[in-house]
Each structure stands twice: as C-alpha cells, then as structure tokens.
C-alpha cells in the first residue's frame, strides 16, 4: 500500500524531467521544475517516514524491467529511512534551487536531468530486484554525470565527468558481478530469491568484496574516492549538495541492503576489512580536505571522511553481528544510520552555503574570499551551524552519531577474534584523529571564507542571497540543532530499520528521563544533548547579562592591535594554505609526499619571495596512474595493428587458422 504512495511521487519526478526535456529547458521553467521537485520530494520523504516508523513491508511488481521478472519494488523500514534522506535532501535542495537556479547560465543542461536524478535515487532505494536496482543505480550515476557536465566548457569539469563516469562504470560492473554471484546464474534476480539462497563463506566473501568496490566507489571509500572531489564540486551547488549529501548515502544503502540483508551472516574478518577501509577513509579524507583551498572541493573531500565514519559504524555492526552480539550490532548500526542522516543534513547545508558564496562572489577559491560574515550575515550563521555540526562538536547532531560510534567501539573488547581486537582500537584512534582534524578543517573553511577581511574585490562586493536559498539553509541548520539536542527521537525512529536488519535494537531512548540517550546502560555511558545545550546557553547568557549589568558594556572600535604591526593590506592575513601549513608539516610528507620549496631573492633584490608547495595524491599515483599508463601502453602497442600491410593481416588470419587446426589435431 505504502509503496504506491512512494512510487507515485517518484513517477512524478520522472515526469517533471520529461516535461523539462519537452520544454527544451527554457529558463522560465526553472522555478516550476524546482518547485514541483520540492513538493514531490517532500511527499517521498513523508512516505519514507511513514514506512520507517511503521516498520511494515509493502511490495509491488510493475510489468517493466526484466520481462520474466518484472520490476519489484519494496518499501520497508530501511528503505523508508533512506527515502527520508533522499526526499528531505531533494526537497530542500529543490527549495534552494528555486532561488539558486536563477543564476544558472545554461539551465537546459540542468533542468532536464535534475528531477529524474532525484527520482532515480529514490528508485534505487525502492528497488527489490537486481535489475531494477542496477538500472536505477546507473541511471542515477548517468544523470549526475550529465549534471556534472552542466558547466562543460571548463576542461577540468569534463575531466571530472570522465573520471566520474569511469568510476561509476567500474562500480556498476563490480555490482553486476556481485549480483551474478547472488543470483547464482539461474536468473534468481529478485531480492527475495537472493535472501533465501544459502551460500558458502567463500562466495559470501567474494560478494562482500565486490559490493565494497561497487558501493564503495560510489560512496567514496578510499582508495576508490578519487572521482568524488573532482565531480561533486563541478556540478551546480544544489546538485553538489545532492551528490555529496544524498547520493553517497544511496551508495551506503546499496552496501547495507546487499551485505546486511541479502548475503546473510558475515564472517568476522569481513567486518575487519570494512573497518580498516572505513578508518583509512576517514583519516585520509579529512587530511585531503584540509589541504584544499577550493571551498567546494574541501567539502567534497570531507564527504569522504564522513563516509569513512559511516563505514566504521557498519564494520562494527558486522563485527558484532558475526559474533551474535545483537546489542552491540544494534548500537553500531544505529550510529551508522544516524551519521548517514546527519551527514545528509550538514553536508547539504554546507554545499548550499558554498553555493551562496559562489553566487555572491563568483569565487570558490577560499584564497579570494574572507569577511563574508559582514556581508552575508544570514548565510554565515547557517554555515557556522553546519561547520559546528560536521566537526562533531556538542551539542549539535554530528557529535551524537560519532559519540555513538565511540560507544560501540568501547564495548568491542568482548569480541573474541584477535584481528578485531587489534583493528578496532586502531580504527578508534583513526576516528578520533579524523574528528579532531575535521574541526581544524572547518575552522579553516569558515575562518578563511567568512571571517577576516575580504581578500578580493568580489568578496568585498558580496551580497546576501535570496530567501529561498536562505530558508533552505535554515531548515537544515534547524534540523541539525534539533537532531543534536533530541537525539533520542532519532534513535527511536531508526529502531525498526535497525531491528529488521540486525535483529535487535537499542534501548528505547524516549523512555529515559530528561531525554538522555543511553546506548547500553546508564552506568556505562550516557549523553544529554538537550541539557548540555541548555547549560551552555544558560551559562553564556547569564555570564553575559551579569557582566553587562554589573560591570561594563561599553566598547569602542579601533584598529586591530596585532602586536602593534600595522597590517593594512588584507594580503597579510593568514591564507588557507598557510593555515593548513602546520598540519601539512605533520602529516604531509607521509600522506601527500609534500614538498616545500622556498625561493628567496638575494639581499638587495626587490623581487618577491615565493613558497612552492607540491602535494601529490599518492593513491592516484600508485593505483590509478599505473592503470592509466597500462591502458595507454597497451593501446599504443596494439595500435600498431591498425597499420599493417594486407599481407600481415592475412598472416594473422593464417596464423589463427593454423592455431585452430592444431587445436583440432590435439583435441580428442
């Protein structure tokens, strides 16, 4: 029953795209397209919420897709949760785009794909057979590829699109192979059939590896993340928000659906692989992010970090599940899902903010920004909330999910396997490291972009963005705050989805007094976002009021002190590059093969001194470059075959003939 309610708005989204194509993507249809998408996405989200809270399962089969199978769709609690993520993200992004879309120079390269992209993401979540799943999955990639190419005239964007499509193709192939194993070669493509099939551990392991590649490449798991920081920033900002905030979550959904639902009970070392990959992803992602000074690219790299955190949660859940520790599995899984939700909120918010900055200044490069807090006050507040949330600082939502992940780590010594015993604390250390670096990263992002003095004329002339964009940002900021101070409600809402996959759930949180959250038992650990929030707000307010009332509230403006150093020129401010320098010194040589070269003019020379910093992406150098070179070399070598004489071509035919005859002669 519910599934029809979900499919109708999805069909509506596809229809909106079709209408946009028929209208030729005229600029005048921009607002109607985004408006309709917003409403339809809201419907999707509401249906998802109903399914998520209801916990029931509703299925349907449509007569499309594979002919003898039909297209199966299913809406259960897990799908419901991800529908909420997709629908909410889509609705808010559409709202944002009503205003933001007006600045699009070539709307016909965005509008026809936009709604269908949202529809495809919803369909991935709803699909209940391998074919529908993969078609929706790949259509989602393809449409986002088209959106990445919206600003196709820049070479960099075309390259981004290319790398993206290649990785998407690679991932899809891995998933194809995974489904090949799941279906057992006899065409059992319906997920129901896959759930019922028993598999050997070897096959299950192979499936897990393939899904890690397939879903991991889409989500941005290291080392398959390389496309993400190229492609996400290239798209228009509301699409970047969707790609980073929502599409990566759809990839997570794919992983969860296959690994937790279809494959069956995992083995512990599978969990270890996921954990280690997650930990590496988190730490590397944030280090990469720290080194960026393109605001959108920084955000995109940071998505990689968050994906790592989610995978750590999922890996922990697998570890507990393989040892039949349901409570731990439920905790870790809840943490992962909670982080999925949180990240979809604050990453969208931050991309909206960067889009607002882009609209206002035309700049993505932080080195040309600064001081926007004065010129874009509302945006800067929303962006700040996003930064605090994503840096996992209490009392906002990002902290809650990371805290839950830490709690899951804390109960993991009970796991018997040595591999897990050694890897889990290490992963915990990586998680802690990445959380701290994330804060550094967003101090940099916010400090350079919004604080200080403008570093360019464009930043000086910036103006606040339109009210649609602002309302979209504030909706998300509000949700970040709410999810941070009322985490219990979110955890309880997630419970049916968690229970359906790991067979257990966390204690009911809304029953705990004072709205605290308690992962296992109150004596072990608890956290109360609401109280922390109230305490901080109250103490800060009381302190301020008391001081203003009893001591002094006078102030005057003057030049900055700066140790008496007259720094009139904004160029004397710390730059994004210099801000990251200490951390680059600490981690750079190891992770990025960083090299610094100083060109100091000799005394008396008035020429400028220069600092050259080179950073290399070692994963690109060691993993992708060899593949690219290999293909090029093979192509070049084989290309000689295009220029042979007819005689040599005949010789090839002849050789083949003789070879086959010899096969015949030897065959008995």
């Amino acid at each position: 029953m519910l599934i029809e309610f979900a499919l109708i708005p999805v069909a509506g989204l596809l229809a909106v795209s079709l209408a946009a194509i028929l209208a030729g993507g005229r600029p005048s249809i921009s607002a109607p397209v985004y408006g309709a998408s917003a409403i339809l996405c809201a419907l999707v989200a509401i249906t998802g919420l109903a399914a998520m809270l209801g916990g029931g399962v509703s299925t349907t089969v449509l007569p499309v897709g594979l002919p003898w199978l039909g297209a199966h769709f299913r809406l259960d609690a897990l799908a419901g949760f991800f529908l909420v993520v997709v629908g909410l993200g889509g609705a808010v992004a559409s709202l944002y785009a009503i205003g933001y879309g007006r600045h699009e120079r070539e709307p016909w390269r965005v509008l026809p794909f936009y709604s269908a992209f949202l529809g495809a993401m919803s369909l991935v979540v709803l699909a209940d057979d391998a074919f529908s799943f993969l078609v929706s999955w790949e259509v989602m990639s393809l449409l986002s590829w088209a959106l990445v190419l919206a600003h196709h005239r820049e070479n960099e964007n075309r390259r981004a699109g290319y790398v993206y499509l290649m990785m998407a193709g690679f991932g899809t192939m891995a998933l194809l192979l995974a489904f090949g194993l799941l279906s057992g070669g006899s065409g059992g493509y319906a997920f129901d059939a896959m759930r019922e099939t028993a598999r050997t551990p070897a096959i299950a392991a192979a499936i897990l590896a393939l899904v890690l590649i397939g879903a991991g490449s889409k989500a941005g798991l290291v080392p398959l993340h390389v496309w993400l920081p190229l492609a996400h920033p290239a798209a228009p900002s509301h699409v970047s928000a969707l790609m980073s905030g929502v599409m990566t979550k759809v990839a997570i959904y794919g992983f969860i659906r296959i690994v937790f639902d279809l494959v069956g009970l995992p083995s512990w070392w599978a969990a270890m692989v996921v954990l280690v990959l997650g930990g590496a992803t988190a730490a590397l992602g944030v280090l990469y992010a720290l080194m960026q000074h393109d605001l959108k690219r920084l955000l995109a790299y940071h998505t990689v970090e968050n994906i790592g955190i989610i995978f750590i949660g999922l890996g922990l859940a697998l570890a507990f599940q393989s040892n039949h520790q349901t409570a731990g599995a439920a905790l870790a899984f809840t943490a992962a899902l909670f982080h999925v939700f949180n990240h979809s909120l604050f990453k969208s918010l931050l991309f909206f903010g960067s889009g607002a900055v882009l609209t206002a200044t035309g700049e993505r490069d932080m080195e040309h920004l600064g001081g926007l807090i004065h010129r874009m006050p509302a945006t800067s507040i929303a962006f700040l909330i996003g930064c605090v949330a994503i840096s996992a600082l209490p009392p906002l939502n990002g902290f809650v999910s990371e805290w839950l992940t830490f709690q899951a780590i804390l109960i993991s010594p009970e796991l018997p396997q040595w591999g897990l015993k050694l890897s889990i604390p290490t992963v915990g250390a990586l998680l802690a490291l990445s959380a701290a670096l994330a804060a550094a990263c967003f101090v940099k992002a916010y400090g350079i972009t919004f604080l200080g003095r403008p570093r360019s004329k464009a930043a000086e002339r910036a103006a606040e963005v339109d009210r649609f964009a602002l309302s979209a940002m504030f909706i998300l900021a509000g949700l970040c705050v709410l999810a941070g101070i009322f985490p219990g409600f979110v955890i309880d809402a997630l419970a049916p989805a968690v229970a359906s996959l790991v067979g257990g759930q966390m204690p009911t949180q809304t029953a705990v007094p004072w709205l605290s959250i308690v992962p296992i038992a109150e004596s072990r650990s608890s956290y109360n976002g609401l109280l922390v929030f109230i305490f901080i707000a109250a103490s800060a307010t009381i302190a301020a009021l008391a001081i203003h009332r009893l001591a002094s509230r006078a102030f005057r403006r003057s030049d900055p002190w700066d140790c008496g150093f007259p720094s009139a020129d904004p160029a004397t401010q710390y730059t994004a590059g210099s801000f990251a320098q200490p951390i680059r010194r600490v981690f750079g040589t190891l992770v990025f093969a960083a090299r610094e070269k100083v060109e100091m003019p000799p005394p008396g020379d008035t020429g400028p001194a220069r600092l050259h910093v080179t950073l290399r992406d070692l994963i690109w150098d060691w993993l992708y470059q060899p593949v690219a070179i290999g293909v090029t070399v093979a192509a070049t070598r084989l290309n000689a075959l295009q220029f042979l004489t007819i005689r040599r071509y005949l010789a090839l035919v002849f050789a083949t003939l003789v070879l086959l005859l010899m096969v015949l002669a030897l065959w008995s």
């Binding site: 007819i646 003789v658 002669a665």
Partner: protein, 231 residues
C-alpha cells in the same frame, strides 16, 4: 558369393583411388613447388601447372563419379586458370615492369619447412575422420586442405600483389579439389564460375584502380601508407 567379385571391386577401387590420390597429391606437390619459386615468371608458370593438374583431377572425378557437369569445371580450370589468367598476369607484370622482381618475406627454406608442416597437419587432422567416411573423400580432403593452407601460405609469404593473387588462386584450386571430391555436391560448377569471376575482379581491380599509378608499385605494402591514422 564368389571370392573374386569383392577383389575385383577392390582392385578397381584401388585403381580409382590411386589415380585420384596421385592427382591430388600432385597438386600438393605443385603447391609446394610454388613456395619454392623466387621469380614471378616462374611462379606464374608453376601456377599454370597447378591449374593443369587440377584440370586432370577434376576430370578424373567427373569420370569416376559419372558426373558430367564436373567436366565444365575442369574446362574452366583449364581455359581460365591454366591459360587466360597466367597470360594476363604475364602481360601485366611486364607492363608494370616487375617481372624480374621477387620479394619473399622470410627465407624459402623456412617457408618450405612451414609448408611441409602444414601438409603434416592436414594429414593428422584428416586421420581423425572416421574411416566409415569414404576413404577417397578422406584422402582427397587431406590434400585439398593442404592445398588451401599452402595457398594461404603463398599469400602470406609474398609481398607482391601479383604473387598474392597467384596464392589466392591456388587456394581456390584447393577448394575446387575438395568440392569435386565431395560426391554429389551441388553448385560445384556455379561455385567455380563464381570464383573465376572473383579472381577476374581482383585482376581487373589491379588494373582498374591503377594501383601502380596511384601507389607507385603494386606492392601492397605501399597501399597502407594512405591512412588517416599514422601517429
């Protein structure tokens, strides 16, 4: 149930077999001779001999199979392949001024060795055919296969378009040998006619497209220079 009857048949069979065998084997031998030739003239002459042996072979098959239409094929082989085409090619190579040239890729000795290997291969493969099948056909096929392979070998080891045409024709002779050896096979005549036309096309093609004028030489190597893709 006289013991002589089967014996007579066997002897007749043996004789029929021997002649067919001899002629087919002769064809293989001539094919090998073609591999040995270094001069174009000589090659053409040997090819004419090849066609001649084929003519006899086909005629013999026509006789023993009592299939008169095969005589047509024999006639075509004689007139067209043993006389017309070699003469035409003679004229052509003189016109093109390449009659003294020969360009083999790889040494003759190696080519000969390869040729022997191919004959051996054909025999081995045909030995696998169950003896229930007509032994005559079986041997015939072994030789036909050898001729086809040797024809291809000629095409592959010569750089020169004319000698490649010759190689192709000897390949086709092998096909005709096989076709005529297959008792009662329909379309044999039609096929031999079709092939003759094909060869005519090739020969005419060399003239018509004035390959010499356009490409300086009939050497097919030169044909490949005009490609948009040299990089």
């Amino acid at each position: 149930m006289t013991p002589t009857m089967p014996q007579t048949i066997a002897m007749t069979g043996g004789f029929v077999f021997d002649v067919a065998h001899l002629l087919a084997g002769g064809l293989v031998l001539v094919s090998l001779m073609m591999l040995y030739q270094r001069r174009l003239y000589a090659l053409l002459n040997v090819f004419a001999l090849h066609a001649l042996v084929l003519t006899f072979s086909v005629a013999w098959q026509a006789y023993i199979q009592d299939a008169p239409h095969l005589y047509i094929t024999a006639a075509i082989a004689l007139v067209f392949k043993a006389i017309v085409i070699p003469l035409a090619l003679h004229r052509m190579i003189v016109q093109l001024g390449i009659h003294r040239e020969i360009e083999t890729a790889g040494g003759v000795g190696l080519t000969m060795l390869l040729g022997m290997g191919l004959v051996a291969l054909s025999t081995v493969i045909m030995l696998k055919v169950t003896s229930e099948a007509d032994p005559l056909a079986r041997e015939d096929l072994a030789f036909a296969l050898s001729v086809v392979l040797l024809g291809l070998l000629v095409m592959v080891t010569r750089r020169n378009a004319v000698s490649q045409v010759v190689g192709f024709m000897s390949l086709e002779n092998g096909l005709v040998l096989a076709a005529t050896g297959a008792k009662g096979m329909p379309f044999v005549v039609e096929i031999s006619v079709a092939f003759s036309i094909l060869i005519a096309f090739i020969v005419i093609g060399i003239f018509l497209f004035r390959i010499r004028e356009r490409f300086d030489t009939v050497d097919v190597q030169a044909l490949d220079r005009f490609r948009g893709e040299m990089s």
